[in-house]
Structure formats: C-alpha cells, structure tokens
C-alpha cells in the first residue's frame, strides 16, 4: 500500500494544487519568450551578415536597434510618435464607442438591424485606402483624416463583436433582470454590457493593432508628421533600417497599450471563473 503512496508526487499532497502549475510556469514562459526572440533576432542578424537575407529588404537587427536608440537619443522620434499615438488612441476610442453603441442599438432593435444589415456589410468591404482622397477632402490633412481611417477599421471589428455578444446573452438572465424591473437602459447597463464584455474585449485586442495600422497607413498616404510619415520617408529613400525601426517602435507601443487593455479587462472580468490561460488579461 505504502508503495502507491510514494508514487504520488509531493505537489499533490500539499497546498491547493490548482495554483501550483501557474506559479511554476511564469518564469518558463518568460524564458521561452526570450529564447524565441533571441533565436529570431540572432538568426536574422546572422543571415543578414552572411548575405542570405537581403539587407535591401530586411536591414539588420543591430542596425535597427541602433537607429531606434538614435531616434530616442536625439529625441526626434517623440513628436512623430506622439502624433501617431494620439491618432490611434482617438481612432480606438471613437471607433470603439461607435461600434459599441451601434452594436447595441442593432442588437436590441431588430428592425433597424434587418434594415441596415446589408449596408453595414457593404461599408465594411470598401477598401479604405482607395477612399484616402475623400478622407483628405472631408477631414483635411491633419490628424483627423488618419483618425477617420483608423475608425473605419476599428468600428467594424467592435461593431460585429458587440452585436453578436449582446445577442449571446443568456436569455434567462435577461428575463430575470426584466422581471426584477430592469428598464431597457438598466438592462444594457447591468446585463447586456457585462455579458457582452468578453466579446467586446476580444474585439478590442484586435482593434488595438488595427488602430495603429490605421494611423500609420493614413500618415503613409499623406501627412507631415507621425511614424507613418517617417516610415514613408525611409521607404522613399530605400532606407530599410528606417522602415523597420519605425515598425519596431510601433510594436513596442502596441505591447504597452495591450498591457493596459489587459489590466482593464482583468478588472472588469474579475467575476469570471479563472482559466489558467493568457490572451486577453481577463483570464489570467
């Protein structure tokens, strides 16, 4: 008998087991992440040096990093970065809110949804790049045309998910709330919104990236400042290092923004049964 006891590993007999693996895993994750990064960067660097990867298209990680450091050292990047971030943030907020509100509206009012269904689908399929002149016409050359650009990307993503999220709400929970006296507004506030939050955050994770893309592409098509402008300029002079450094800076920013989104998500979805998993902070 005691033999079988011995085969039970130590971890099983002390402390709440569910918590253990997580604690143990964190450093492993970080190590693997770093390993992946090192592997990719080093491989790239070596390939570039060996001429396997064409520097005309890919630059070298070392060059990219030194250019980035340069930008921050001279401070020249700040004004560009700031503009791009403001544009992306505005696009995220405006597009997100619009998507949220219209998603709710259409999910709740069947008739409007039925009527506007084809129109929204069509608008979603319009190539935004082609519309750049119209954005310039309507919103000028300043930040607003780029914001509009980002909004057209973010809106649809948030809209479709919000719409579906609201419609997925448990019927019994809604009925219960209504029987307890919830008016439509209260229903939205206390039932539909919290219930659709997982959906909304899933769309926000996609949107953070798209908002930045929108801002950059907008700048790329016409601007006098911003990271997109920097990239476009570098591309015009075949300065691949500049192009990649620009994208590198954007990536870093996205990670920072995403950490913030995760924080908010984790807070708002704290009522969820924890699932030991990662994407979208709500589940951590």
């Amino acid at each position: 008998m005691s033999a079988s006891v011995e085969t039970t590993p130590e971890t099983r007999t002390t402390g709440p087991v569910r918590r253990k693996p997580r604690r143990k895993r964190r450093p492993a994750v970080l190590i693997t992440q770093i390993a992946v990064a090192v592997f990719v960067v080093l491989g790239w660097e070596l390939c570039a040096r060996a001429g396997i990867v064409d520097e005309f298209f890919f630059s070298k990680p070392s060059d990219i990093v030194s250019r980035t450091i340069d930008w921050f050292a001279t401070g020249s990047i700040w004004e560009h970065l700031q503009i791009t971030l403001v544009e992306a943030a505005l696009a995220l907020v405006i597009g997100g809110l619009l998507g949220l509100v219209i998603g709710f509206l259409l999910a709740r009012v069947e008739f409007i949804a039925a009527v506007f269904d084809p129109y929204i689908k069509v608008l979603n399929a319009l190539p935004r790049v082609v519309l750049a002149p119209i954005f310039l016409l309507w919103f000028g050359l300043g930040i607003w045309s780029k914001v509009a650009f980002g909004v057209t990307l973010v809106f649809f993503i948030v809209f479709f998910n919000t719409y579906q999220g609201v419609r997925e709400v448990d019927r019994v929970v809604v009925d219960n709330a209504r029987m307890l006296g919830a008016k439509e507004g209260q229903l939205v506030r206390h039932v539909l919104l919290p219930s659709a939050l997982t959906w909304i955050f899933s769309s926000l994770h996609i949107s953070v990236g798209f908002a930045i893309v929108g801002a950059v592409v907008g700048e790329y098509l016409g601007a006098s400042k911003g990271v997109g402008y920097l990239i476009s300029q570098a591309e015009g002079t075949f300065d691949t290092t500049g192009v990649f450094a620009g994208m590198f800076v954007l990536s870093a920013v996205v990670l920072v923004v995403d950490v913030a989104v995760n924080r908010v998500e984790r807070y708002l979805l704290r009522w969820k049964p924890s699932q030991d998993n990662n994407f979208g902070g709500g589940q951590r």
Binding site: F56, L136, L137, S224, Y229
Partner: protein
C-alpha cells in the same frame, strides 16, 4: 532569380504609376504593338510609385522598371548595380504651384519658407526638388513644412482647399487643378516641363527623369532583349513626336481619358515637349541628378558615384543615335 535571362522575350516591366503621363511611352509602346514587333511579350505591372517598382526589381518580380533615373543613382550609392538604358523623359516635368487659397502671399520660391508645401511623398523626387530649390535660394531644406499629399485627387483636393499653400505637382493632376479652379488662379513658381524651366532650375539642358532601367546583371544576360526594348521605346518616342496630343490620347487605353478627356489631352500636350526624342541620356543631366540627390541623401553624398556606370546609351538603336 533576379537578373535571370528572360527566355522567349517574356518580360515584366514594373511601372511606377501607370496612369502617370511621365510613364506614358511604356504603355503607348504596348498599345502601338511595338514590343510585339520586336518579338517581346511584355507584361506591364502597375506599382503605385517608383520606389515600389524598384523594390520589385530588386526582389526579382519584374525584369525592368519604368521609373525615375534618381533611383539608379540611389542604388549606385548602395553599391547596387542598376543601369538606365533608355530615357523617356528629358525634363522632370515637375511644377511648383501655389494654392489659390494659400495662407500667405507666395510670389517666389523664397516665399515658400514657413509655408506648408505638398509633395507626393516624403523622400520622393518631388520632395528633393522642393528642397533643392529652397537650397538654391539659400534657405535651409526644412524651412518649408513638407506635407505628403500623394499625386492624384488628394493633391488636387489639398491645393484646391488650401490645405497646403503650395505643392510640387505632376500632370495630369496639375492640369486638372488648373482646369478646376481656372488657370489664372494657380500661380506657377517654376515649371520644369519646358527646356527653359529645366535650364533655370538645374542649369542643364536635359535632366533625365523617367527611364527604363534594370540591374546590371539582367542587362548582361539580356543584351538582346534590352536592345529590343530600347528600340520599341525609341520608336514610340518618335511616334509621339510626330503625332498630336489628340492622336496620342486616342491610342491610350480608353479608361485613361474617361475622367476628363479634355484635361487628359491638354496635359499630354503640355508634357509632350518633355519626352525625349531619341532615348539618349546626357551625362551632364545625369550628373545634375546626382548633385541634387547628394544634397539630401547623405548616402549619395558619401558614395563616390561614377554616374557613367548608372546609364548606358549602348542599347539604343544605332541608326537614331
């Protein structure tokens, strides 16, 4: 793969913006059937800008680029062997125009200091042209705010609405602007569609702009194909010289005139003079290009470029030279 021999005359030419008039001979040659006459089977790929076309060349997706000569110099600075082998446009055909709604009176290049000036894209030829002219006036390159506005409707819109005070423009956008707001309303600061303009701005008689270029390796492997291409283009240039703008427009794809036929014809007429007559690229013009670029691209300035390696007139049909 880049620079391989194009078997059976199968060629892809990347065009840095097919509808742009500066690249018109590339398309016209196909319409006139001159490539076929030479036994070439040419596919034209529209690549929205010369730098994209150059990248496509470097990546091996196209064999030849119909783009700006500037890029050959820039590549030389990067130790990339790129050679122009036939010139299509001998004047850059850039116009600096003042918006009718400019925020301040602009009478000369010097007045551009402190203004918001549109260029097609940062780091493009239009950008350098502006900076070069500012430099000639003794102003620092960044004395004007450079605003990217693209080359088509957006540029027209920006000018028309006064979102920029002035802009470096190309045809047909410039002609269109003139037509929309009235030719008198648009003040022209300099116009390099004419020999005088080029002389005045650059001090040379020709300033190579649109050319066909490719990698040295491709040229080496495709000696005959390059000759045939050059010949087709030269024939086209001659055809252009002998025909009116109306006739040229009629040969171009129908869609190109669909926007506004009059403007299209008119802009062809304006730019017609700028087309090269025989495809040759003059050495002094080439040097002028290098000098301009050297002022703004440190890489070009640093590199010791021998311009004669960046172009060659050897592929041109001998009877015309």
């Amino acid at each position: 793969k880049p620079g391989e021999r194009s078997e059976g005359g199968q060629l892809t030419i990347g065009v840095g913006g097919q509808p742009l008039l500066v690249y018109l001979p590339t398309t016209l040659a196909q319409r006139l059937g001159y490539y076929e006459d030479e036994g070439l089977n040419v596919t034209l790929e529209d690549l929205q800008g010369g730098s994209k076309a150059l990248q496509a060349l470097q990546g091996g997706s196209v064999d030849v680029v119909s783009g700006y000569y500037d890029h050959a110099i820039q590549m030389a600075a990067k130790d990339r062997d790129v050679q122009s082998f036939v010139s299509m446009l001998r004047y850059p055909s850039l116009v600096i125009a003042v918006s009718p709604k400019a925020s301040k009176p602009i009478e000369s290049i010097a007045d551009l200091a402190g203004a918001n000036v549109g260029v097609t894209a940062p780091g493009s030829s239009t950008d350098f042209f502006l900076k070069y002219l500012l430099g000639k006036e003794g102003l620092p390159a960044d004395s004007a705010t450079v605003q990217a506005v693209g080359g088509d409707s957006s540029a027209v819109a920006a000018m028309e609405q006064g979102r920029v005070d002035a802009a470096v423009m190309l045809d047909p956008a410039f002609s269109l602007l003139q037509q929309r707001v009235g030719a008198d309303e648009v003040q022209v600061l300099t116009d390099t569609r004419t020999a005088e303009g080029v002389q005045e701005d650059f001090g040379v008689s020709t300033y190579p702009a649109a050319v066909l270029y490719s990698t040295g390796q491709w040229l080496e492997n495709n000696d005959d194909n390059a000759r045939k291409l050059a010949k087709a283009i030269v024939r086209t240039l001659e055809w252009i010289d002998q025909h009116s703008a109306e006739e040229i427009a009629a040969e171009m794809p129908e869609e190109y005139a669909q926007g506004n036929r009059d403007v299209y014809v008119e802009s062809i007429a304006k730019v017609k003079e700028a087309y090269s007559k025989d495809g040759t690229l003059e050495a002094d013009g080439a040097e002028a290009v290098r000098e301009v670029l050297a002022q703004f691209i440190p890489e070009v300035e640093r590199a010791d470029i021998d311009v004669s390696t960046t172009f060659s007139n050897d592929y041109l049909p001998s009877e015309t030279s």
